[in-house]
């Protein structure tokens, strides 16, 4: 019937060009439950979040319009900016390292010719992805245990003094970042490996015949071909790390001395500990717009990379 093949003007795009009225009804009936659900359970709450950020009260208390007061409270709260700094610190510690390591692992895996061995290895790197962040946090909390933990035991082999890991103000963020690297490396590796496997062998071969060294082949042939994957993976990891909550909540609850209090914990405390929905909604909107900005940046980068 050529429904989707037909060229359509803006009016048809907006109103839909349909052969029969019954067709229109049936098609709409199929999508209706989903549309109702998403508008009810996602879009309406999103708008409500925006509305809530201008109000105080709720949960039995009378609601009152207070304008931008919640915004002022949050954005002048030095504690809020500390959680933003902590979150960004976590992102900087974990994201570039994850992506770089994953690229390294993918390059090494790509050299392995035996398919079975390569599959088993990449499946192993992927394993942490399927378990819950809570389980991961419990395991690592035990590994990091200062007296009986595995981490200090291993450091002992190299003659390094026991560290305090999650209970040290300076080490807590790097320790959490290490958990994150462990959690996420498999995801990036799989994406990079798939991209590497799709690069025709003869491209690198041609460069080698022209006298390029291995490092030059990587720098000038392989890496440019991975450009899109690198940007994509960076953005995905950025968004994931920015929303970090479960691991921190389970291991440190923001401590010691708020050194690991991330922005999501600030939202959680305001919303579900103190039931201050106005301030919490401001934080929610802040997170939403930050992530939206990241997505837009990604989109721009990928557009530019395409030309």
């Amino acid at each position: 019937m050529g429904r989707s093949e037909r060229k359509r003007g803006w009016k048809q795009v907006l109103l839909g060009a349909t052969p029969t009225a019954s067709q229109r009804r049936i098609g709409f009936a199929f999508v209706l439950p989903t549309i109702v659900y998403f508008w009810g359970v996602y879009f309406y709450p999103l708008l409500s979040s925006i509305r809530l950020s201008f109000y105080e009260g709720g949960m039995g208390r009378p609601e009152r319009f207070i304008g931008l007061k919640s915004y002022e409270m949050v954005f002048t709260d030095p504690f809020f900016w500390q959680t933003v700094r902590n979150t960004l610190y976590f992102v900087i510690l974990s994201v570039p390292m994850t992506v770089a390591l994953a690229l390294g692992v993918a390059l090494l895996l790509n050299r392995i010719i035996n398919n079975r061995v390569r599959d088993i290895l990449s499946a192993t790197y992927f394993m942490p992805l399927v378990i819950s962040l809570v389980a991961a946090a419990l395991i690592w909390g035990w590994i990091y245990q200062p007296i009986y933990g595995l981490a200090n035991y291993i450091l002992g082999f190299f003659g390094i003094r026991p560290q305090k890991w999650l209970s040290s103000i300076s080490q807590v963020m790097p320790s959490l970042a290490l958990i994150n690297i462990w959690l996420r490396i498999g995801f990036d590796t799989v994406i990079f490996l798939a991209a590497l496997q799709s690069i025709p062998e003869r491209l690198q071969e041609a460069a080698r015949i022209d006298g390029a060294r291995d490092s030059q082949v990587f720098r000038y042939v392989t890496l440019p071909l991975l450009n899109n994957q690198v940007i994509m993976v960076l953005m995905i990891e950025l968004i994931f790390a920015f929303k970090v909550f479960d691991q921190v909540f389970v291991t440190t609850e923001g401590g010691p001395a708020n050194a690991s209090r991330v922005i999501m914990m600030y939202l959680y405390d305001f919303a579900f500990k103190w039931f201050k929905f106005g301030e919490a909604s401001v934080v929610a909107i802040f997170i939403f717009t930050s992530l939206l900005a990241i997505s837009v940046i990604q989109w721009v980068f990928l557009r530019r990379a395409a030309y």
Partner: protein, 284 residues
């Protein structure tokens, strides 16, 4: 002279090649280590885990005392059942409604179709945190705190699933649908008997990813449950840490219990799981 160097170079290249392979194998072992450590710790008695210097292997490998203990102390069987129920039901509803919507978007025309589809794609960009507060207020208002419905509300339909199923169903030739119509099949019949069997791989991918996500979910259950009977497995696990003194032998046993079903799923359908997780990660 050139010839004399050749064997040396070959050995050198082989050596480098083996070193690089060993390196990536070593990395894989490092990734595996925490899993192994979890398993070993869960088999140790309390006094065993407090040894300095630590001992790697448990004294007795078949010491399942910790596993009995966690089920005795907390209703862990209930947590497992709740998690299974919430994940199972929301997987089924996601499969049905996401593929229905995918079919509608792929094979029909109706007013403002592009707009509706775009709005669902936009959902993928909305972090759950941006809607959690109003959603919580509703759940409280309608008395859905500590109920299965409350736990499932954000999980009933998957936006990623709509996207995935639309792509898959668009690939089903229109001739099949038209032929079935001429034969007098009802529209619902066409959907269940013609469309769904042809997109089984995508349905499987969606089922896996949805089950995995819901099984591992922590934030939403944390917010809307406070009774022991309605806790899910991740909350049960987290409660090991709220005590002043963490009994790591028990905590790791709990972690093993929570991870085993997912690991079975992973090891059985490894390629599928990887594909599904990557797809969903990339798309949203």
């Amino acid at each position: 002279m050139e010839k004399q160097h050749a064997p040396y170079l070959r050995i050198k290249r082989k050596f480098i090649s083996w070193t690089l392979t060993a390196l990536v194998v070593f990395g894989a072992l490092l990734v595996l280590m925490p899993f192994l450590w979890m398993l070993l710790t869960s088999l140790k008695r309390p006094e065993e885990i407090l040894r300095v210097p630590l001992t790697f292997l448990p004294d007795r490998f078949f010491n399942l005392q910790n596993y009995f203990e966690i089920f005795k102390r907390q209703p862990f069987h209930l947590y497992l059942w709740n998690t299974f129920l919430v994940s199972g039901v929301s997987t089924v509803t996601s499969l049905v409604f996401s593929s229905m919507a995918g079919y509608g978007f792929a094979k029909f025309n109706f007013p403002a179709k592009e707009f509706w589809f775009f709005s669902i794609i936009c959902i993928l960009m909305v972090p759950f945190q941006a809607i959690v507060i109003p959603l919580y207020q509703w759940v409280v208002e309608f008395g859905l705190i500590n109920t299965y419905i409350g736990l499932m509300i954000p999980h009933f339909i998957s936006a990623f699933g709509v996207f995935l199923m639309r792509e898959a169903i668009a690939g089903v030739p229109n001739d099949y649908i038209d032929a079935a119509r001429i034969d007098g099949s009802s529209e619902i019949g066409i959907f269940f008997r013609i469309i769904l069997p042809m997109v089984k791989p995508s349905l499987a991918a969606l089922a896996i990813i949805k089950f995995l996500w819901t099984w591992n979910e922590f934030f939403w259950p944390l917010v809307i449950t406070n009774s022991e009977e309605m806790k899910v497995i991740t909350l049960g696990l987290a409660s090991f840490n709220t005590m002043y003194y963490i009994e790591h032998n028990l905590a790791t046993a709990g972690a093993v219990v929570s991870v085993v079903p997912i690991m079975i799923l992973y090891l059985a359908f490894q390629k599928w799981v990887v594909k599904a997780v990557v797809m969903s990660g990339v798309k949203g």
